[in-house]
Symmetry: C2
Subunit: 358 residues, 2 copies
């Protein structure tokens, strides 16, 4: 044996530095512990004992996600503290729409050479998101891949497991023609459309992260803050509604927008009809469309258009659901209905024939 | 509405092409279905109903992993068909060492612009790995991030969830001084040490993927084949041993090698003592050490050194365990013991004082 231990470091990977960075984040991970977690940080797999008391037929609901090129905005803004919360909230919403509440979350961080401060910022965002959703950060993997990732880049992937009793599973089968569509506002772009948004704001308009966006009057924060606003979790507002008989389905509006995500919960021979003027479209989307010269149809497929979540509800129970949402301080707007039809989403723009645009 | 739908494509993301590629892989995903899977491909989260018949206290075991810069070898060799199996087998082994068998797996693929053939090759490897381990490919995420990933690069991340009855959980608590260490051979580098291996074979020796490796007499396949040999799954060979009372613990030898992974299952005040000459070290590792000028200590931390899995067994039951392994055609060698000590791994190189090397 010799003391020399640097061939791997010469090849770009420093196991000791990795261990030091991992030690630093153990405290963050521990802050997310919930009663189901068994064992400590650092075993081969994370261990979780679900509380099955009163659950007749447990169904595990699982989803994997990333935050896309929002990571490149974080790099430009020099702030990796928010994307972790984005990722957790995105994953929480993805299983929430099937009626599930989260048990645990695992992350993957890929980078060229681990920079301890950026890594700690990433993990602290993940830990914040997990704590806020009552979800244990059960484990994860950190990979240094020099030459594969560009210096300073971090890939961030998340994986969530939740649980729902089979009888309470929301899968779209309760949806019928006549149901009402209730929109819950997004907090911004959430985690979709960032390639196009960067193209418009940075390449076309030449804006920097500290600049205000010309034409965005309803939000005067700088571009970096607006773009990095975290993806909202709807779990706190919706938890008490999950077993409500009037809640027929939910759709999380992510990549593909209203156009591709609403049909995922529509039964055959129905379609969603949406009145475009029925909710307030934030200025951000107007500016993206105008300055990016993006067709309306594409806007509704690339961006959430101010709608982060859609509830499909029985019209007879809609009043009660709106009242519960109000008690939770959760704004909601009726934006359309489910109707007999040939599938997909039909947008009523309220325009005279021949005119286009919002 | 207009027919124009190309602003996002101009920014580098083509949703229609993504949809076409995803359609192509649905059949592969369906081939991995197990009885627990509910619902189809394409819902927000994957649904899995675990069979809890006879399980007294179900514990979920979960792990996240990547395949590291083995991906760069796949790119150089123009063959993405094997890394998916690597990833699944790596994840399966990670939860197997805690006594768990897999329920389901999710993947994440990140790339600049999705190339349908490479993507289909990746997913077909994942599906092969899942089928071979009886594990459902329950879902996944595919992200196009132009500008973030270099052209032709694919990041591949996997998440697995398995189950074990709490009484059968292997966590190292049964290990005691005197226990025997049985090594199960690896199939090659598995998924660790590829940055250093590429440095030695490609940069130092100037080898191409089709070249044989000078000095590697026991495997005359070309470099690309040797480096892409998939990570072995030990589940088929070990499934029948999981409840054996003489099996005290297992360690999956991945990043950190024997040096960092064995201590994860050692109780306080013990150490692993390994006799280095007691198993056959494949030529590949000799060449990596000699031509890379890598210290022995580092070799045991960066590479698996021919050992993919270590079983820690009660010496009284070791004969029976070896017999069962033999029935499964699984080779195994006693390579050392657990002894009272101050932690970590002590390597007995069988050398005269002052000499170094294997």
């Amino acid at each position: 044996m010799t003391d020399s231990n640097d061939a791997y470091r010469r090849a770009g990977v420093d196991i000791d530095a990795q261990d030091a960075a991992l030690g630093r984040i153990k405290k963050l991970v521990r802050s997310t512990r919930t009663p189901g977690v068994l064992g400590g940080v650092g075993s081969f797999g994370g261990l979780f004992r679900p509380d099955l008391e009163g659950v007749e037929e447990p169904v595990l609901v699982s989803s994997a996600d990333g935050v896309g090129t929002k990571l490149m905005v974080a790099k430009m803004a020099g702030d990796y503290s928010t994307v972790g919360r984005d990722l957790v909230n995105h994953c929480v919403n993805d299983i929430l729409v099937q009626g599930a509440t989260p048990l645990f979350f695992l992350d993957y961080v890929g980078t060229g050479t681990l920079e301890p401060d950026a890594f700690a910022a990433l993990v602290s965002g993940l830990a914040d998101g997990c704590r806020e959703n009552g979800c244990a950060l059960l484990g994860g993997e950190t990979a240094e891949m020099p030459g594969f990732y560009q210096p300073g880049d971090y890939e961030l992937v998340g994986f969530i497991v939740g649980i729902v009793d089979r009888a309470a599973l929301l899968d779209g089968s309760r949806v019928r023609a006549g149901d009402l569509l209730l929109a819950l506002p997004s907090s911004g772009l959430h985690t979709n459309g960032y390639s196009l948004a960067r193209h418009v704001f940075i390449e076309r308009l030449g804006l920097g992260m500290a600049d205000k966006i010309p034409g965005v009057e309803d939000d005067r924060r700088p571009l970096g803050k607006i773009l990095l606003e975290p993806h909202r979790s709807y779990l706190p507002a919706l938890r008490s509604l999950l077993q409500h008989p009037a809640l027929h389905a939910m759709a999380h509006i992510t990549g593909g927008g209203l156009t591709d995500n609403l049909p995922r919960v529509l039964p055959a021979k129905t379609q969603a009809e949406i009145r475009v003027g029925s909710w307030r479209l934030p200025d951000l989307f107007h500016v993206l469309q105008d300055r990016g010269e993006v067709a309306t149809e594409e806007m509704f497929r690339v961006f959430n258009m101010g709608v982060g979540m859609v509830l499909v509800v029985d019209p007879a129970g809609a009043g009660e659901i709106l009242k519960i949402l109000q008690q939770q301080n959760q704004p909601a707007s009726p934006i359309g209905t489910v109707q007999a039809g040939s599938g997909g989403v039909v947008y009523d723009l309220g325009l005279v024939p021949g005119e286009d645009g919002l």
